[in-house]
């Protein structure tokens, strides 16, 4: 029996030749594995393709995000006028607790179990590399969080159109809020996955993520309130750096002009630059930390 050519085996796919039938068909390779893992984890974040029990929590949170918008839309269409009672981005910031709980509940589903049950070597015995795993998981969770944020926005927008509010005013607002949703999803997914990747124990990761997100948000609110009361406008603006929700809010309100419920945004052009730089740094740092984390798992 001639040995398998080992030249591209790692790149294309591993089929162990144990002496039965040969396989000469197409090999789907790393890109295919990455796509599969991405699709599987994005669906898994909503429990799709998994047991009914796992669908309950994400669907409940999804409903918690969407149901209030239905009420808002109905009220707005009855009372009439050109404006929704709540701004698009403002709505997301007000429901940040639900978003935080979703990230906290689903980030550990994505990565903690693989670590807890020690099956990372199984992933990496395939052509997949740590980079692929991190990219697929990260992109999938970001997609899932984005859908959670975009769904209520879309309902609000559709409701505004059905209530015959001016499209010219609502379409730009809706698109701006979607930019906020994209950025927030990427930042939150990064933070959630980093924390989850270091807390394999069931429950602990959930608590850690939600504690960090809510404490940051609480600190930000309190610090900003103090600074506004003291008349320190610049300081009040920079307190937005503390929480991911206000950080991304600061970026989008200055760069694309989203509505914002916060009393102070980044002060001036320098502030905008700082907020944007910090956002980019957070995302890159999360990605880097995840890569490092999984380099070590392969070594072990």
């Amino acid at each position: 029996m001639p040995p398998e050519p080992v030249r591209d085996a790692r790149e294309l796919g591993v089929i162990h030749d144990i002496g039965y039938r040969h396989y000469d068909g197409p090999r789907l390779g790393r890109a295919y594995i990455r796509r599969s893992l991405y699709a599987d984890s994005a669906k898994g974040a909503y429990g799709l393709g998994r047991a009914a029990r796992t669908k309950v929590m994400p669907m409940l949170l999804f409903a918690a995000m969407c149901v209030p918008t239905l009420v808002i839309v109905v009220v707005a269409s009855v009372t009439g006028g050109d404006e929704l009672p709540v701004g698009y981005t403002t709505y997301l910031v007000q429901l940040q607790v639900v978003v935080a709980v979703f990230v906290a509940a689903q980030a550990p589903v994505s990565v903690s179990r693989d670590l807890r049950f020690g099956i990372m070597p199984l992933y990496f015995s395939r052509p997949m590399r740590p980079v692929d795993y991190v990219q697929a998981r990260y992109a999938a969770l970001a997609t899932a969080v984005f859908l959670l944020l975009a769904a209520p926005l879309t309902i609000l927008f559709a409701g505004a159109l059905l209530a015959e509010m001016p499209v010219g005013e609502h379409l730009p607002d809706y698109l701006r809020a979607l930019v906020y949703a994209v950025l927030l999803a990427v930042v939150l997914a990064g933070l959630g996955l980093v924390l989850a990747a270091f807390t394999p124990r069931r429950g602990l990761g959930v608590a850690a993520i939600v504690a960090v997100l809510l404490v940051l948000s609480g600190v930000q609110t309190a610090a900003q309130a103090i600074a506004v009361e003291q008349g320190a406008d610049t300081a009040a603006g920079y307190t937005g750096l503390v929480s991911p929700f206000s950080l991304v809010d600061g970026v989008t309100r200055e760069l694309v002009g989203t509505d914002s419920p916060l009393p102070a945004g980044p002060p001036g052009a320098v502030g905008t630059l700082v907020f944007t730089a910090v956002t980019a740094l957070v995302v890159l740092a999360c990605y880097g930390v995840l890569l490092r984390r999984y380099r070590r798992v392969t070594g072990a």
């Binding site: 509940a105 270091f198 959930v206 608590a207 404490v215 309190a222 610090a223």
Partner: protein, 242 residues
């Protein structure tokens, strides 16, 4: 009460990462209070906002959640609870022991720092600090009892607990006032309200429920949850679940 169970629980609760998380919360509260005091001086409105919103509204529920579910959840999860259950111990006493350890942790890391933050923010160990310290202690006990029960009943105790403590009590309570009648936070606030006395309304230390209702509900939830957790532990199923 059983000393060995208590020791084991304390050790697992104060394991490295969990302890880090548990310590982070009071540290943030005290740091925030220190900064607020340095910048804004002793302002009672600010103190009520921080103690009510951050300490009682976020810190104590989270501590109760981490300590309450952490006291028994991991053991059920990895199956090592059988070694405790196989001993000739009353299941109720196991639950009570674990609950007491969790309550001790939440009191030390939640109620005491809340009191300290109150002293820091108001400048004196006056009624505000005492009121919120007491409310935090009482709420901590009720949260622990509830979350120990959740950990016995479901594998997703932390997420379910979060939904209750944050989404129900905080978010839905904001928009639907009726939801506040079923909120440990509000019941504890009723006690703070009573301690502060006649100035409570002016300071904004008000609760959605009266004192008798609050105390009765707190007692009912704490005792009921503890008893039912013990009962559920008698017939617990140890199936592994993914």
């Amino acid at each position: 009460m059983n000393a060995t169970v208590a020791r084991l629980t304390a050790r697992s609760l104060l394991g490295r990462r969990r302890a880090l998380l548990l310590l982070l919360l009071p540290a943030v509260l005290l740091a925030l209070s220190g900064v607020a005091r340095a910048l804004a001086g002793t302002e009672e409105d600010l103190a009520v906002g921080l103690l009510g919103g951050f300490a009682l509204g976020t810190l104590v529920p989270l501590l109760g959640l981490i300590a309450g579910t952490g006291a028994i959840g991991p053991e059920i999860d990895d199956g090592s609870i059988v070694y405790v259950l196989a001993k000739p111990l009353d299941r109720h006493s196991i639950v009570v022991t674990k609950l007491l350890v969790a309550v001790a942790v939440v009191t030390a890391l939640g109620a005491v720092p809340t009191f300290a933050a109150g002293v820091l923010l108001t400048g004196t160990a006056g009624t505000l600090a005492v009121a919120f310290g007491l409310a935090a202690a009482v709420a901590g006990i009720a949260y622990c009892a509830l979350f120990v029960l959740l950990a016995v009943v479901t594998r997703n105790a932390v997420v379910v607990g979060l939904l209750y403590a944050l989404v129900w009590e905080t978010l839905i309570g904001q928009f639907v006032p009726g939801a506040q009648a079923l909120s440990i936070q509000q019941w504890a606030l009723a006690i703070a309200d009573e301690v502060v006395g006649s100035r409570a309304g002016q300071l904004g230390v008000t609760s959605a429920v009266g004192l008798p209702a609050g105390v009765v509900l707190l007692l009912a939830v704490t005792l009921g949850a503890t008893w039912y957790a013990g009962r559920r532990l008698r017939t617990i199923r140890l199936t592994s679940e993914v």
